[in-house]
């Protein structure tokens, strides 16, 4: 959690950053239009959503059974499952596995849970070099930043910036080479990362899905970096929140049919890969060790409560893409791993802090997120519930509390209400009032102040 600054400061900086605004503008049309086109092409999209919700709700209602089955299947195929209560336990477990493998380099597929537990810094302080292999994550890593979007981590970076970063970081290349097109950047990243894949001792990936039936984990990528991360090194570690669990491969297919369409408008990601245990018998390649690190980190607290539906989230990013607030300020303003509407729920619930408590208020509750969420997560309802919690905990300060109390009292008394309005109407025309009253000053930063209608004005 970025505690060095407040949400307000970060949002202000984002609004004033022309490069970020340009990048956000490009992304907005791309994601929204493509998703819409993909959804239109699939008549059964809404039926799939209903089915996916049934599957997830069923798993969450029978978690011990399915987790147990999953673990048995992983072990039966030669893998190991590690149950980690919190970020600290997960980091230590992963370090332990890496140290036992004498790992010097770790190839990483994109994992938001990895960001959630701040894994890279931890590995680095213990002398292990993590290399991000997703192009966006790689860019973010060499810039020493954090991802700003859960699907497109480098959304906030323009291709011009990326070219400059590559020139600064890949010093052994011809300085006069062209890096004008995305294809040039991809080709360069590929050649840099190819060596990293080949020499990595451990591969760490996330999981879009955990399949209880077979003990498999599944990832989706567009670059194939997840596959190379998990197949080439001797050790494959899967790091995932336990809520990624589904009962069967059939169920996994339902989720997959929603995931890429909701995220980027693709019918499927370029690579969809299932891993089941380490290499077996006659396999010519594949890791010798297969570990699944299952993380709780506050997720189980959501079970049985008013935020349980948040555990349905398949991390598609549709809510971010369609959120007008995210579109205006980007992901870093949210201060932690998960931005946009899903982040405004996950951050206060998994990583509470007074700054996190601001996030649910930074929304008009327009409801577009819930409209596009493939899992129909009632995000506005949850944001409102978090506001109620913040209020009940005394996090809403004066003079707002007093204003609300006064308002609800005045509106019940007809005469008082009319007197208040009779006073406010002319006051709203006075320059002194407009200049001094804080909400009016806030309004006038960007807009003209409307003046009340004069009675009988024609």
């Amino acid at each position: 959690m970025n505690t060095a600054s407040s949400f307000h400061d970060r949002a202000a900086a984002a609004l004033e950053n022309p490069v970020l605004q340009q990048a956000l503008g490009h992304a907005r049309a791309r994601f929204i239009d493509k998703r819409e086109a993909a959804v239109k092409k699939l008549p059964e999209f809404d039926a799939l959503r209903d089915r996916a919700i049934e599957i997830k709700d069923h798993v969450l209602a029978h978690l011990p059974f399915y987790l147990d089955h999953f673990a048995r299947q992983v072990e039966a195929s030669g893998g190991q499952v590690h149950w980690c209560d919190d970020a600290d336990a997960a980091r230590k477990k992963i370090l332990d596995i890496c140290q036992k493998a004498n790992a010097r380099t770790v190839a990483k597929g994109k994992t938001m849970v990895g960001e959630e537990i701040a894994l890279n810094d931890f590995l680095q302080t213990h002398g292990i070099r993590p290399v991000e292999t997703d192009l966006g994550e790689y860019l973010v890593q060499i810039r020493k930043e954090t991802p700003s979007h859960i699907v497109a981590p480098a959304l906030h970076i323009t291709k011009e910036q990326a070219a400059a970063d590559f020139r600064a970081h890949h010093r052994d290349r011809d300085p006069s080479r062209k890096l004008d097109h995305i294809a040039d950047l991809l080709a360069e990243a590929r050649s840099v990362l190819r060596q990293e894949f080949l020499q990595a001792d451990v591969g760490i990936t996330g999981a879009n899905l955990l399949v209880a039936e077979t003990g498999s984990t599944a990832i989706v990528t567009n670059e194939g970096n997840g596959d190379l991360s998990q197949s080439l090194p001797q050790v494959h570690i899967v790091l995932a929140g336990f809520e990624k669990l589904v009962p069967t491969l059939e169920d996994a297919a339902v989720i997959l049919r929603l995931l890429a369409r909701s995220a980027t408008g693709q019918e499927a990601s370029v690579y969809t890969s299932f891993s089941t245990g380490p290499r077996r018998g006659d396999d010519v390649d594949g890791p010798r060790e297969f570990h699944v690190v299952l993380l709780d980190n506050g997720r189980s607290r959501l079970l049985g409560g008013e935020f349980q539906e948040m555990l349905r989230c398949i991390r598609c990013g549709a809510c971010l893409n369609h959120c007008p607030v995210y579109q205006a300020i980007g992901g870093h303003a949210y201060g932690w791993v998960y931005p946009g509407p899903m982040g405004a729920v996950l951050t206060p619930t998994l990583n509470p802090s007074s700054d996190a408590a601001t996030l649910p208020f930074a929304s008009t509750l327009c409801g577009r997120c819930e409209d596009v969420c493939p899992m129909r997560i009632p995000l506005p309802r949850m944001l409102r519930a978090l506001r109620h919690q913040a209020f009940a905990r005394g996090l809403v300060k004066q003079p707002e509390k007093l204003t609300l109390a006064t308002w609800s009292w005045v509106v019940k008394h007809r005469r008082l209400y009319r007197i208040m309005l009779a006073g406010m109407r002319p006051a709203l025309r006075w320059k002194l009032v407009a200049d001094l009253v804080p909400p009016l000053r806030s309004w006038r930063r960007q807009r003209a102040l409307p003046v009340p209608q004069v009675k009988g004005q024609r």
Binding site: I329, C366, E370, R384, Y417, R447, A448, P450, Q453
Partner: protein, 265 residues
């Protein structure tokens, strides 16, 4: 006297919830709503108190304050056949959120449910319950219609307000591109996060300018005040009016004014 020979049967009794923004900023909206409801044969009584549905408290986290207001308003509305509101957000509060707010509250759960069923946003009422007759005056000029998020998502109203506008002779109705995007008002949000709100308004006013429309209208005065302020700050000449005023043919009323209009200091 009601239309179509219904002299012996009194029309439905409507409680008109004027809304606080209308009371403060633009009473002609309530006047227009009253005219329209009478035109379809209703007996209209403005709700005296409480004057607010409790949404500001509800959305700011003050569930207790909202609950108290909600209970008082429900009691005040119960004697009427219907409740009509010239605003999607307040109608949505009653229809969608009152039952949630009072879900655990014994008898109030049912009372909230009953009130929710008989509460309608104005254009919704004039389409589903008491359809407005075909000819409703005339209008000259182009009008861009803005969908409020509560109308779109809480009330499912997209076609009805447009249909009502299209029935007006001479009207040139324009669609605003990217209509599903929020304008950035959001009640208290607009003054708590003014710069984000302003950025969202900028996108919306840019889209409105793209329509070339002379007038902007909507079901929700909050959106309209916010957008009028942004349009005027940007030097745009679009006239901003509430849909009730256009449907009632109130062309002689001045559009929403701001302190930065030409000729003002």
């Amino acid at each position: 006297m009601g239309p179509g020979g219904e002299m012996d049967r009194p029309g439905p009794r409507i409680a008109l919830l004027r809304t606080c923004l209308v009371d403060l900023y633009r009473p002609s909206v309530a006047e227009a709503a009253g005219i329209l409801l009478q035109r379809v044969g209703c007996l209209v009584t403005p709700v005296a108190a409480p004057a607010c549905c409790g949404q500001p408290n509800y959305n700011s986290g003050d569930a207790n304050g909202a609950t108290k207001t909600a209970k008082q308003l429900i009691a005040a509305l119960e004697p009427y056949d219907y409740v009509v509101v010239p605003a999607g957000s307040c109608a949505g509060m009653i229809r969608v959120h009152y039952p949630n707010l009072l879900a655990d509250d014994g008898e109030w759960r049912h009372r909230a449910g009953d009130i929710a069923k008989k509460t309608f946003e104005l254009t919704q009422f004039l389409t589903e319950i008491k359809p407005l007759p075909r000819t409703t005056g005339s209008w000259s000029g182009s009008v861009a219609y803005h969908d409020s998020c509560s109308c779109l998502r809480e009330l499912g109203l997209k076609k009805a307000p447009r249909d009502l506008l299209c029935r007006i002779d001479g009207i040139d109705l324009r669609d605003i591109p990217d209509a599903e995007s929020c304008c950035g008002f959001g009640g208290a949000f607009t003054v708590k996060f003014p710069d984000i709100s302003g950025a969202m308004a900028q996108r919306k006013t840019g889209a409105i300018a793209d329509t070339g429309a002379e007038t902007l209208t909507s079901t929700d005065l909050g959106c309209l005040l916010h957008l009028a302020g942004k349009l005027r700050r940007d030097g745009q000449k679009v006239a901003v009016r509430h849909i009730a005023e256009i449907l009632a043919g109130m062309m002689d009323i001045a559009p929403i004014e701001t302190s930065e209009d030409e000729g003002r200091s």
